[in-house]
């Protein structure tokens, strides 16, 4: 009864427009202090202080410190001239092909994903540089926006990834293993997006083609060398066990700062305070949901919700693969209508309990969840990458949604491959850590 009331009130408050953090926290806190929910021997003061204790412990984590740090790194990178140099380099490599600049934008997104943990930051960093150039070269604005949004969504699959840090924190799974699991599936998505962009551009005659010269590759490569060094240092450090994820995030901040101010000389020191404040506020908004979710989760645990969920799932009598695909479908729907972080924080604590019934490794499941939510970033009505790229290209959401349909379709095929063929995700974590 309490569980039904808890979820019912949460959905009602969400529908009425209360922010996610409060829609999660308010019913939980309200029910905890309601007389009769807990035995009379537990005093109201004790329950109230339990709420505060849960809120505090919800974010008292060294691993979560990586979240604001990667956000600060992403903000610095957005204005530090890193993206333009990466795009120039990728364009010198593939600009000779039809749709070369579109493919270059996706290639640059893959590299930039290796330093930033946020898809929105990646979309903004690449989009601000490449969308105006693509439009000048004759690409339709909607197509340019769609390609950049798709490339940006890879940002949360290729490590570092804020959603993976959150998933690891909530499920006690190694974030480094999740990071390793995201690399190959992220690369597969990137290559698929490139193939689709090149095919569409070739069929419809979009864009200009540049002559390929080794000289140009050398010139742009030298200019982008420092930018390309970032993923090597940050990811290499984390996956190689030299630094923890949180320390790697701190390195990312200082590396982005060094490249933006000293090497590229495009970031002014006077811009830095506002960039840090903006990142801290965004991080605060997300971390506050986690704190409230801790109170929500505590109340759920007190009501033996895991056993109830197990009983329900067993009554469905689905084979493990069927259950996995059903969960993927559910996540896709949730990803379409909810913001990524909110969706992750709301459903993961419940769905992660089902990994034994799905006969899937928790790392495999975690990466699949993040790929699902990345696809959700490309679909209306709530797709953050779509919103960012629509804003830069100045086109309507409807037009970009139509242009992005082939890219979403290919990403669904990739997701299915990743779900059914586990080595795509598990080969690297197994090689590095097991």
């Amino acid at each position: 009864m309490i569980i039904v009331l808890l979820f019912g009130l949460m959905f009602l408050l969400l529908a009425l427009g209360l922010p996610v953090a409060l829609a999660i926290g308010l019913p939980a806190i309200g029910l905890i202090v309601t007389p009769g929910v807990f035995p009379d021997s537990v005093t109201l003061a004790a329950l109230g202080q339990t709420v505060v204790q849960q809120l505090f412990s919800g974010v008292d984590s060294f691993d979560l410190l990586a979240v604001p740090l990667f956000m600060i790194a992403g903000s610095i990178m957005e204005v530090g001239g890193i993206s333009r140099r990466l795009i120039d380099f990728c364009n010198s490599l593939v600009g000779w092909a039809p749709g070369g600049l579109a493919a270059a934008a996706i290639g640059a997104s893959i590299i930039i994903a290796g330093i930033s943990g946020s898809a929105a930051a990646d979309t903004a960093a690449i989009g601000a540089v490449v969308i105006p150039t693509m439009i000048r070269q004759g690409y339709p604005p909607a197509f340019a926006a769609a390609v950049v949004a798709a490339g940006g969504a890879i940002g949360i699959i290729i490590p570092p990834s804020i959603p993976m840090i959150l998933f690891g924190f909530m499920t006690n799974i190694s974030t480094s293993q999740l990071f390793a699991g995201g690399i190959m599936v992220g690369a597969l998505l990137g290559l698929s997006f490139m193939a689709v962009a090149i095919f569409i551009s070739w069929r419809k005659g979009y864009g200009e083609r540049l002559p390929f010269t080794w000289k140009q590759v050398g010139v742009t490569g030298r200019a982008a060398l420092w930018s390309m060094g970032a993923p090597v240092i940050v990811l290499g450090g984390i996956l190689g066990g030299i630094v923890t994820v949180t320390e790697g995030a701190a390195l990312a901040v200082f590396y982005a700062l060094l490249v933006g101010t000293v090497i590229n000389k495009e970031l002014k020191w006077s811009e830095l305070p506002q960039l840090i404040i903006r990142s801290q506020v965004t991080a605060g908004g997300i971390l506050f949901i986690i704190a409230m979710a801790k109170v929500f989760g505590w109340l759920l645990a007190m009501q033996q919700s895991a056993q109830l969920l197990n009983t329900f799932v067993n009554s469905l009598a689905l084979p493990p693969v069927g259950l996995l695909l059903l969960v993927m479908l559910l996540l896709l729907v949730i990803g379409c209508v909810m913001e990524t972080t909110a969706a992750l924080l709301l459903v993961v604590p419940v769905l992660a309990l089902l990994t034994p019934q799905m006969a899937v490794d928790p790392v495999h499941f975690g990466v699949l969840v993040v790929v699902n939510l990345a696809i959700g970033m490309l679909t209306p009505p709530v797709g953050i990458c779509l919103f960012v790229s629509c804003g830069i290209a100045q086109v309507s959401l409807g037009r970009v949604s139509r242009a992005i349909a082939p890219l979403v379709l290919v990403s669904l095929v990739d997701l299915l491959i990743a779900a059914l063929w586990s080595p795509l995700i598990m080969w690297l974590p197994t090689l590095l850590y097991r």
């Binding site: 408050l13 969400l14 529908a15 009425l16 427009g17 209360l18 922010p19 996610v20 953090a21 409060l22 829609a23 926290g25 308010l26 806190i29 309200g30 202090v33 003061a45 109230g48 202080q49 709420v51 505060v52 809120l55 505090f56 974010v59 008292d60 984590s61 060294f62 410190l65 604001p68 740090l69 600060i72 630094v243 949180t246 320390e247 701190a250 390195l251 901040v253 200082f254 305070p273 840090i276 404040i277 990142s279 801290q280 506020v281 965004t282 991080a283 605060g284 908004g285 997300i286 971390l287 506050f288 949901i289 986690i290 704190a291 209508v337 909810m338 913001e339 972080t341 909110a342 709530v382």
Partner: protein
Amino acid sequence: MKLHQLLGALSEGVNRMVEWLLLAIGVAFSLILFAQVVARYGGHSLSWSEEVGRYLLVATSFLGATVAYKRAEFIGLAGLGAKFGPAIEHGIVRLLQWLTLACFGLITWYGVGYTFNAWEQTSSAVQMPMSLPISVLPISAAIFLLHVLVDLTGPVKSGGAS
């Protein structure tokens, strides 16, 4: 209206202070963690850095959330209230504001009690009273109360989330 203006000015002032505090916290944990990596490879690990970093994160979470609320940057869905006409939307917005006020009132009240109770406990590395990091909760909740009161005493604005 005078009360609304007074609360509004106070809320703006507090919000500006919190923004600068967030800047200081962001710079502090970036520097501490960078120093930790350098120190560890220099053979002198900083025993206190992880603990201080964690408590700075707790401060970021709650203080950052107050600014996100003030800027209407909280993550949420567009409310259904607008579909039922201005009168019902007005009522829903006010109801949600009262509920939010009650929620932060509870956190402030019990947060103060919990902070005082934790005075005798000390953190493991720095040995500071646990009341210090915990006090961020009632302080942030009180700031939330102030921001919500500004909304409650002013005209109804549609939507509160982004």
